[in-house]
Symmetry: C2
Subunit: 310 residues, 2 copies
Amino acid sequence: MELEFIRRLRERLPPRQGDLLVGPGDDAAVLAWRSGGNCVVTTDMLTDGVDFRLSEADPRRIGRKALAVNLSDLAAMAAVPVAVVVSLALPRTASLELAWELYEGLLPLAVEFDTYVAGGDTNAWDGGLVINVTAIGRTTERGPLLRSGARPGDAIVVTGDFGGSILGKHFDFTPRVREALYLGANYEVRAAMDVSDGLSLDLGRMCEESGCGAELTLSSIPISAAAREAALRNPQSDTPLERALSDGEDFELLLAMPLEEASRAAADTSLGVGLSIIGRFVAERGLYAIDAAGNRTPLTPRGYEHRFGP
Amino acid sequence: MELEFIRRLRERLPPRQGDLLVGPGDDAAVLAWRSGGNCVVTTDMLTDGVDFRLSEADPRRIGRKALAVNLSDLAAMAAVPVAVVVSLALPRTASLELAWELYEGLLPLAVEFDTYVAGGDTNAWDGGLVINVTAIGRTTERGPLLRSGARPGDAIVVTGDFGGSILGKHFDFTPRVREALYLGANYEVRAAMDVSDGLSLDLGRMCEESGCGAELTLSSIPISAAAREAALRNPQSDTPLERALSDGEDFELLLAMPLEEASRAAADTSLGVGLSIIGRFVAERGLYAIDAAGNRTPLTPRGYEHRFGP
């Protein structure tokens, strides 16, 4: 990391404390691992034109998002955030102020989630803006929540509502760290993931990892106001329900829970976010939609799929 | 990470073992932290045109380098490598085969250093190739080696030789992990860093962190064959000595050790790499060169400095 920048960052960070034994400026950071728990690690790279548009977005929102998507992955494992490292590839045409603005968006969220900014790597190059964050967390006594634990009969449970994230939530969402830890500590949760590529697509992935299928009750899908707004703006395109099922970047939790536990949790007002039971896992592979009349039809998973190749 | 790619990667990785409780494919990886030690974390981002040229270099060498520079940072802390996560931004014009070739270069080095490839994030975009690796290590009983521990009177010690890395070593160097662990376990080492931006520049940084200065004995600087070769090719440019002092990407260890310890270590044939005593740390701030006649002159730190701004 550039020296002058490190100096400025060191001044901006909370004074070295607790478990961050060595912070930015040395060859690596050192985190005390006194508190036990296993080490959870996740990484996400955001690129200009795919995850944001630098020409349109406030760099602070971009920096915040880069951290938030990683915290969302830690939430999906029911891990407690510990620290992050941040890598930047800055366009040479930009100044180092851009790096600073990215950090100005990221740092308040780090403080909010008690997460150290332990270090990073700040580079300039002839390309566009790339920001990579790696987040480290620790497991609680409950252990990590995996995608693979759903069983036929479990309820499909989600936090929040879905669709239309492109209108703003993809920048400003709250990673469901507290909710995941609370649910993991107080309820039987068998599987979890965060919904980043679209509800039906990610549900399909959970089913695949768990070796089962799923029935979605369409009338129970929590459709966001943004999904309705986006559908209004593009009446030729998807309906609000279709958007809720296939838009990416909701960053809500998708959970498998025994039905009774799910019902108890959905009535738990301590949670602070809506919890919806939107269907159930079934033994038969594949996704199925149950419509208002009770008819069951196959549902094709849709969402954001990374495309490669010329 | 793209699903088909994860499947292929899972097949290629050694079967899940030991401390990698959850590997690629879930929202995050989980590493058992039974063995104690604190958590060391470092991250490095390599970009096309700065750290490599995709049009000229074998992607396998690029992938290897992306891991090696991170292992070099762990070595600088005397940390035992545990796991890495790998983020890629691939040009859309390339195919997913490029990602595979990068991994094909990275994986053998990961195996050589007993390091899990715990996960990653593989993206396509309209820009050039960017590869980010974050490495996680653990401290030994000795604790981490910092840049800040050098004291006046300590010997300046380096592994290997310097200069001309651009001719090939910057891709093919061996990160000094084993050497750092061996020296840390068997000798008193007061400070350490890896030389990535040039010997004199990085020595200046160690001095700054340690609050001291340094005298370099020019005749003791180990000059690489590549530095001589590079100087021959460009006779109008730097001498071999100047190259050894200022070329970047040597990825050798720079250490501060009490003189007696340094002398013992330099004679230790178990080390497997040459160890040179190239001067001493002094109380007076600044860098100084001692020439063959014993004259002492100020030395301007030179090396690779990251440039920002239009």
